[in-house]
Symmetry: C2
Subunit: 316 residues, 2 copies
């Protein structure tokens, strides 16, 4: 097949639009699309210091390259990367090394933050004794460290590599679970003290498009999956959406649009609440005690774990 | 397995509650549940004349029995049945006969309304030449005739046999399609002139539960499927929900709850609009010309079809 825009061979068929793209036109489409998302939602504005959550996986590696290559020419912006080392044997060590290569190549500051050094236990240890799912612990401790590190290093934005597949899964899952509060929290929120505003530049492009872009640009991408990755409910929703998208291309975009259409009314019925500071650690939370501190309290009966008092990070 | 309420053998495991039911306790659960739904949403109130949409299929047969056996003792209520004969060869004739048996047995008035006698063409003829899907034509003409017959026969409510499976599929489909207007219309609406208020007494019980109830009560149920039944999108959603419900029982109930949680805000952003009378036939519509008249106009170029001027129905 030929490209819909020129005479070159196509490398990608975008099913929802019916368009074929050659390498050059796909790269150009992708960059225009993501820059458009960033502009429309004012994700990056003059004066911003953007912390990039870089795990070393395919999505965040591509995001880091994308942001630096497209925006670091601007003198009014600053970028650095944060990698959380959760302490997962046979997995995280390799991706941390990849992350270090990426930032070395791009010449940006990079900080590695270890769950073990900050809480006294690795995720592997926590999972062994905790009653919750690995992803529950990992999500809470990772977000805690990402936000705190970004803030202490004066970031104004925290960029994550969530793509359209991730977003549509999360939206649908919350809708199916009647979890309208969580649904409301997916709408871009106003700024809150101590909470670095999260941005998702890839939220309007498919995971497949992120990977194709990264590969066409020649980035070294690794496809290792976390050994704890299971999330049965998300997997069911993911498979359904895959099937659905195959039959009716564009449904994932529709789901994002559903949330946007509902956002005005969700803002009225589920207004964003003001955050408190956790009574134990002082980090922002909607409760009295933040979820990380609650987990630490629960886990302390089983393993040696402690509150993260002053943040420890390693500058690469 | 034994019943969770007595010492008898269980005939049904309700997966979302983990409860086992013997025949007697299942019947008692089902009747309490549906009567509760009717009461909560004020579906049937004193003075109501309820038209029951009775196709002769398993769900509407069970609904007709249920309503008559549970409510016809009340002198302040009246019931009759309407069957639409769309004109579908090798299918509808049989279910119309079953419907007649049901109303004869129950001793209620029954009206059969034919698409052919009212519009001059059968659904089979329409489908042969029309460009839309069979279900698109059928849905519009059936709803037109149901509402008009119910109103001309002085009904105050029109009861349909939609169950929890139908409702959760519709809700999810509209959400996935970003069709928030249609989502809003699934919220119980206020009364509108010329539109008989539709009620769905089975909307909070599973299709499986409707069938089990009907079989335990000894109703003669037929399981024939409409030959046009395809609806690829609904089928994908249905299969997904089946799988999902199997893994996480109760998800269909969650979807209904999602809509309820969103209903307050949908009422604000998508208020119910006042209906007009169709310029051609006078029936209620949100447009200038109703969808049935639009279809007639389109189809007139292909087949002999006419506006339904005065309604024709056959009293059984």
């Amino acid at each position: 097949m030929k490209c819909s825009y020129c005479n070159r061979d196509a490398v990608y068929l975008q099913r929802y639009s019916g368009k074929h793209f050659c390498k050059r036109h796909f790269i150009s489409f992708f960059e225009k699309k993501v820059r458009g998302t960033i502009k429309k939602h004012r994700m990056i504005e003059t004066g911003d210091v953007v912390a990039i959550a870089l795990s070393g996986g395919k999505d965040s590696t591509t995001l880091t390259h994308f942001l630096i290559e497209n925006y670091s020419g601007r003198r009014d912006l600053d970028f650095f990367a944060i990698t959380i080392d959760e302490g997962i044997a046979n997995y995280r060590h390799k991706t941390v090394e990849v992350a270090k290569e990426v930032t070395r190549e791009l010449g940006i500051d990079h900080y590695v933050v270890s769950v073990e050094k900050n809480f006294g236990a690795t995720l592997d240890e926590i999972v062994k004794f905790g009653k919750k799912s690995p992803c529950a612990y990992c999500g809470v401790f990772r977000k805690y460290l990402l936000n705190r590190t970004a803030r202490e290093l004066s970031a104004t934005k925290l960029a994550t590599a969530h793509n359209l597949d991730d977003e549509s899964q999360t939206i649908l899952m919350n809708f199916i679970n009647a979890d309208i509060d969580r649904l409301a929290r997916l709408i871009p929120q106003r700024e809150q003290e101590d909470l670095v505003m999260r941005i998702k530049p890839f939220r309007e492009v498919y995971e497949r498009e992120v990977v194709i872009y990264g590969m066409l640009k020649g980035y070294k991408l690794i496809f290792d999956e976390c050994p704890y990755s299971e999330l049965p409910m998300r997997a069911t929703v993911r498979d359904f959406l895959y099937e659905f998208e195959r039959e009716r291309p564009g449904r994932k975009i529709s789901i994002l649009r559903s949330l946007e259409k509902l956002s005005e009314c969700l803002k009225i019925t589920n207004p964003q609440i003001d955050l408190n500071n956790c009574e134990i650690c002082g980090e922002p939370t909607s409760q009295k005690v933040c979820q990380a501190c609650k987990f630490v309290k629960e886990l302390r009966e089983e393993i040696k774990i402690e509150h993260c008092r002053s943040l420890v990070y390693e500058k690469v």
